[in-house]
Symmetry: C2
Subunit: 117 residues, 2 copies
């Protein structure tokens, strides 16, 4: 038997760029801030190291979901990170997909309760 | 400034064993079946290769979330995979956490709409 064309539990819409746990935290932090967050704020909100945050921001920037801008606040240069309009729209689509997966998982778990093991 | 003790967007309860996309599909497939699924059925439902499925099942088995049993159906030996009771309970906890993350993300996205960019 061949694999079906659309495996029902493959979840291709659950974009791994957003789904990865640390990036989900990063994007959710940014989603609430139209004016963005500084690198330092983002690091503290998400509990990640500089190296990890840099790596995840690179993935998000390459996908076009965030923009990074160098700014000077007082004497210190700062990187300001914002969710792009495209990133915001893609994240909304991801969240809709995630909700669907959650509904299915809840339904599956409830269904099994009535079955013989 | 040090990192806060509980970064609000770190999501430690979003257990990576369940959160990884392929495993989320595998566990959701199994959650609906009290009597488990065969390796072949699971592979087809989730659209994964033999190698990938083996690797993910190993992670789930090591965490105690699934049990694997060799069975003979007709002439062919088959592996039957079931979600353990502990795995079912842990998955329910993961889904509750996931729902919380989804609510927060939705709230954040809605909040930003009223803010100046």
């Amino acid at each position: 038997m061949n694999a079906p064309a659309n495996p029902p539990f493959a979840y291709p819409g659950l974009d791994r760029v957003f789904h990865e746990r640390a990036r989900l935290g990063i994007v959710t932090s940014l989603a609430g801030r139209a004016d963005g967050l500084s690198f330092t704020e983002l690091k503290q909100l998400c509990g990640v190291t500089d190296g990890n945050l840099n790596r995840h921001l690179q993935v998000l920037e390459e996908a076009g979901h965030v923009s990074l801008a160098k700014q000077t606040e007082g004497r210190r240069p700062q990187t300001r990170i914002r969710l792009t309009e495209a990133g915001r729209a893609s994240f909304a689509a991801y969240l809709a997909e995630l909700e669907q997966v959650l509904v299915e998982a809840r339904f599956a778990a409830a269904q099994a309760k009535g079955q013989p093991a």
